[in-house]
């Protein structure tokens, strides 16, 4: 799993840095950062990515709307999406997965757990 390209969508610089820090365990990976859903959609037009990791609660456009729009776009509809959020209730999880997210992780995140989830998704896709 070398040279993977991730899009990290998160309004909190602390979380963006922490997630990027974890993702750097994938050798030669490239990380594109976006601060909200709109910014993420712009980045998707210009950048090729292999996976999206997004928060839910963000200004301008939230993560659920982003998941929905990514799934509607023929170019991006197959992209694996992981939701990383403070919303830990079962109904939030169900909603995120129903919209098309491949996995749902509640904060605070454990780096090892995040890497395992990514690994499982990539294995399934292959």
């Amino acid at each position: 799993m070398e040279g993977l390209r991730f899009l990290v969508v998160e309004d909190s610089p602390t979380m963006r840095q922490l997630i990027s820090f974890s993702l750097k365990r994938f050798k030669g990976c490239k990380i594109v950062e976006a601060v909200d859903g709109v910014d993420a959609l712009k980045k998707l037009q210009t950048e090729e990515v292999d996976m999206i990791l997004t928060d839910i609660n963000m200004p301008v456009m939230d993560g659920l709307k982003l998941v929905s729009l990514v799934r509607q776009n023929s170019k991006t509809k197959e992209l694996p999406i992981i939701i990383i959020t403070t919303e830990g209730a079962q109904e939030d999880r169900d909603r995120g997965l129903a919209l098309g997210a491949n996995a749902y992780i509640s904060k605070p995140i454990q780096s090892s757990h995040l890497l395992k989830v990514i690994g499982d998704i990539l294995e399934k896709a292959n």
């Binding site: 909190s12 610089p13 602390t14 979380m15 840095q17 922490l18 820090f21 974890s22 403070t86 830990g88 209730a89 509640s106 904060k107 605070p108 454990q110 780096s111 090892s112």
Partner: protein, 278 residues
């Protein structure tokens, strides 16, 4: 009559021939019998040898079985040892992964806290750390007013937006005691009967610069998916107690000095401006 005699003679001849053949056959049988008896006698000692060889072979095989059993036991013991070592390695790997995760959290928190000198931004970063890294849902950040000796809330999360927090005097209640002693207060996780109460938090961490308490972080509730504080949370509390305090204090000083500089600059501009002629 003559014919009858010749017939009897012929028959007697045939009978004699038959007897002679039988005699030969019986003699043959006797010879064969004798030969077999000799062979049997000759075979008897050889059979004894085979028994002893067979016994030797069994003994050898028994020894071999014993040896293999011993080797099997040794291999099983070695396998168990390796398995135990493997379990230790797995456990160690998990611990290292956890430490790695904790260090990443501490590094990121520390990095972010000192990334700006803007007071509001620092407060926002402290809140982000409490939400995202500790997993608190309801909390507030308080600063000490040195003139009134009271703790006042400067930022909060999870409380009603229009709520007003009464100032807390040093030494009074849980929060006042934390501010006075400089010792953190934890009840780890509240039981099911716990109701969110500003004055009775589940954790209160003093913000300290050396021994001077400048404020406190009070956590009233954790996120629904978080049951209790973990080891890294206590590390983060220690980090916040020191680093958040210095970051908040220095950014506050910086803001004040910026304001004073602007004021002084204004005066200087006024003094050095060329007088306008009326």
């Amino acid at each position: 009559m003559v014919e009858d005699h010749s017939d009897i003679f012929k028959k007697s001849q045939e009978f004699l021939q038959m007897l002679s053949k039988q005699k030969d056959f019986i003699q043959g049988l006797l010879k064969e019998n004798e030969r077999l008896r000799y062979e049997l006698v000759a075979l008897r000692p050889r059979h004894g040898d085979a028994d002893s060889l067979f016994q030797q072979e069994i003994d050898l095989l028994k020894k071999r079985v014993d040896q293999l059993e011993r080797e099997k036991r040794e291999l099983a013991e070695n396998y168990q040892k390796v398995e135990e070592e493997n379990k230790d390695f797995v456990q160690r790997y998990i611990e290292i992964e956890e430490q790695n995760n904790n260090l990443a959290n501490l590094y990121v928190a520390s990095y972010q806290l000192h990334s700006t000198l803007d007071f509001q931004e620092v407060v926002h970063i402290v809140m982000e750390i409490i939400i995202n890294l500790i997993g608190a849902e309801v909390f507030c950040i308080m600063l000490l007013d040195e003139k009134t000796n009271e703790l006042g809330v400067i930022a909060h999360e999870g409380h009603d937006a229009d709520v007003t927090f009464a100032p807390v005097r040093i030494g009074e209640g849980v929060l006042g005691t934390v501010a006075k002693t400089g010792e953190p207060y934890y009840i780890n996780q509240a039981d099911s009967s716990y109701k969110v109460d500003f004055l009775h938090p589940i954790a209160a961490i003093p913000l300290k610069i050396k021994e001077n308490v400048i404020g406190a972080i009070c956590i009233q509730k954790l996120l629904v998916q978080k049951d209790a504080f973990t080891a890294v949370d206590y590390e983060l509390f220690s980090l916040l107690a020191a680093h958040a305090a210095t970051a908040i204090f220095s950014s506050k000083l910086y803001s004040q000095s910026e304001r004073r500089l602007t004021t002084i600059q204004g005066f200087l501009d006024l003094l050095t401006a060329p007088a306008t002629k009326g």
